[in-house]
Amino acid sequence: MKKERSKKYRLIQVLRILVQVVFFVLFVHLLLNAHFTGEDYIKKVEVFFHFDPLLALATFIASRVMFASFVLALITVAVTTILGRVACGWVCPMGSIQQFFSFLFKKSKLHKPKRPSGNHTAWKYFILIFILVATLLSLDLVGLLDPFSFLTRSFALAVLPVFATTGSVLTGILYKLNLTSLGDSLYQFLQNLDVNTVFLQGFFLGALFIGIILLNLVRERFWCRYLCPLGALLGLLSRWNVFKLKINADKCIDCRLCTIHCETQATPFPIGDWKSSECIYCFTCGSICPTGAITFPLRFNPAKAPQVNLSRRKLLFTSFLGILAVPFFRLSAAGKRASSKLIRPPGALPEEQFLRKCVKCGECMKVCPTNALQPVMGEAGPEGIWTPMVVPKIGYCEYYCSLCTQVCPTGAIKELTIEEKVEVKIGTSWINKNRCIPWKFGDPCIVCEEHCPVSPKAIKMIKTRVELPDGTIKTPLAPVIDTGTCIGCGICENKCPVVDKPAIYVTSIGESRSDRNQFLLDVIDETGIY
């Protein structure tokens, strides 16, 4: 038997890697561009999401509203139906990362591919079913494991901040070494990138991302093989793909290299076992085959290919779990009364609809010019984890900015113009007179009033009388809040000189999006102030 590897598939493999690099660079480029660039309106930086049929389907089912941009997902559906899961193998940046690290681990002998065993590839289908059943009952968990959401969140909240902070430390070192002009260039470069570096849970999210990467030590492309619900959805679509793997039985030497090295356990060997739903068309088998026995000829006849075994009993059980997940995820007080800390970005839909649409991708947190948007931990209940909220101690909502509303891929934050945005109230500020410098010490301070962006100001200074512990009387000007004009942007809390626990703070009450998180409704309507 003549031993010769296929040059054609080796070439296709190189081409595939190039395409992967291009799409990965595009992904990072778009994510890096999600920041204030000097223009009030930003180009479509979230376009990757709209090609994701899982997000389209899940948000549609959960919210019962179709978001127009998701029409692009039909392209992915069409391509997958005709060509199979090429989107996984050639385009998906999450897949490319998994493959890259699998490759590294293999090259460094940290991972030795074994013959696959067991039916674990079914996991991802169960994950998909679980998510979709839960969405039917309006619990939207798709963002937790959707690859674009996962990757964008991990990059925006952990990976990019780590790189940016490293760059900043490096700049400091350059200045210390008196390489001033080099330091200046690096500093200006980092400023232009404008990466937010402070994130609650940043460490945790980063660790999770590292964890997913380390799973590639167990199996190549562990995420794509076993976990990815989008991969599962595309797998369900790829039963009729026109290119089907064929092993030339005359050439095959039963070495099993193809099956051992198959990145997604599509089992090219034994002959007839190849699963089109698992194949991502990476062509590793085609190029690794020592005799060039593997080809992917065009075949229109829908030969009944073997599928991943999803037993009916397990499917029913998973669906049942999906149903149970709904009350389980709502075992919290979050729905009972609005959380004071849960200050949603301007344009956010009313909480119930918001949770049905937000896919927790972190794009809004990436674009926020003041780093104000942070991932929620418990304030919105278990289903609201990693959804965005304004944390005024870290950043505030910039007055002439509606970037977060523009980049939201699902419309959970409704797109607003600057003119519309300045009318939105996201909360209300309050003064803690026990800590406020004029109210407590009788000394002058107007920092909150000075920064208040609305015009006329929502913070007014009034003459007051303060008695100090020693009995002296002071009559400083002290801040009071005009609750009706306050928009809850939080710049007052952010700039308050009482550093540890600001003397002025914002809570969510009065937010425009909510009917219930209000007080004295009729009074507002009549006078505009309380």
């Binding site: 910039e398 015009s455 000189p497």
Partner: protein, 295 residues
């Protein structure tokens, strides 16, 4: 002109004034202050500096100059919260014409610098005029001996320390704490640290910082005056067109002139009163030679 000469001139001026006002009118050719009114913010700034004897009087060939406008807020020029970009541009052009080697424009703003530099129009105007417009760089903060009465030391952007000459280009506007913010208040944008804590003794902070930075020239944009809701305003109804610029070497006097635009007397503004007491400058405009013109 340094402060010593300047004070000498003032002494002479007041002496002459006491002796014979008529003599004073003919005696000096160059004014202490120029107040120029006109349609173009850039042209009036140039005219004002020309009236003071031209930029060559302040900037020498090869100087590294830092121009400090107010770029504090994410507001457009029409909202009059930041220095007029045309004024900044004119100042930079004059510096280069006078032979400056390098002109830097920077400010530590209240909103993110990426936004304020852009929306104020100053970044573009300054770059067009050939200046370097760096963002305030915290790596370059240096703890400096301010030697003030209240502020003994504070973190200052080293761009200001390394410059040969500093030109202050503030805008005059309403401020709820100081009543008015003009040239002296502008120095809060040249420092880092917890600036918001300075508000507890803002007048002393302004005086100490102004005396530390000692600009060789103050050119105060008063083309548009923010008369209410300062220091950042927002509504166009808070802005009045004044179409004026005031320039001089005595920053206390320039701020006094600015106050007069808002019909305020120096006695009403504690920072001016205190600055005068400390001998940092003059607040009695009658003692100064002022050239006031409309072009």
């Amino acid at each position: 002109m340094n402060r010593r000469n300047f004070l000498k001139d003032i002494a002479w001026g007041s002496l002459l004034l006491n002796v014979n006002p008529g003599l004073w009118a003919q005696g000096k050719s160059l004014p202490d202050l120029a107040i120029i009114q006109g349609e173009s913010p850039g042209l009036i700034a140039k005219e004002a500096v020309a009236a003071l004897g031209g930029m060559k009087k302040f900037i020498s060939r090869g100087d590294k100059v830092v121009v400090k406008p107010n770029i504090g807020w994410d507001r457009k020029p029409e909202q009059a919260a930041c220095t007029n970009p045309d004024t900044v541009k004119a100042v930079i052009e004059m510096c280069f014409d006078a032979g400056a080697k390098e002109v830097k424009v920077l400010d530590n703003p209240c909103n993110p610098a990426q936004r304020t530099y852009m929306r104020s129009g100053i970044a573009k105007a300054a770059k067009d005029a050939g200046a370097d417009v760096p963002f305030p760089n915290n790596h370059k903060l240096k703890k400096m001996d301010i030697k003030g009465e209240w502020l003994t030391s504070w973190e200052v952007y080293s761009d200001f320390i390394e410059a040969d000459k500093i030109i202050n280009v503030p805008i005059a506007k309403n401020h709820s704490l100081c009543k008015l913010t003009m040239g002296m208040k502008n120095w809060l944008g040249a420092i880092g640290g917890n600036r918001n804590q300075l508000h507890q003794k803002i007048d002393l902070a302004m005086i100490d910082l102004s005396n530390f930075f000692k600009p060789c020239l103050t050119i105060m944009d008063s083309y548009r005056l923010l008369v209410r809701n300062g220091p950042q305003g927002g509504r166009l109804s808070d802005v009045e067109l004044h179409k004026t610029v005031a320039a001089g070497t005595d920053y206390v006097a320039v701020d006094t002139v600015g106050a007069s635009f808002f019909n305020m007397k120096p006695e009403e503004l504690p920072f001016l009163r205190l600055a005068k007491e400390k001998g940092h400058g003059e607040t009695n405009l009658e003692k100064l030679n002022i050239e006031k013109r409309t072009i």
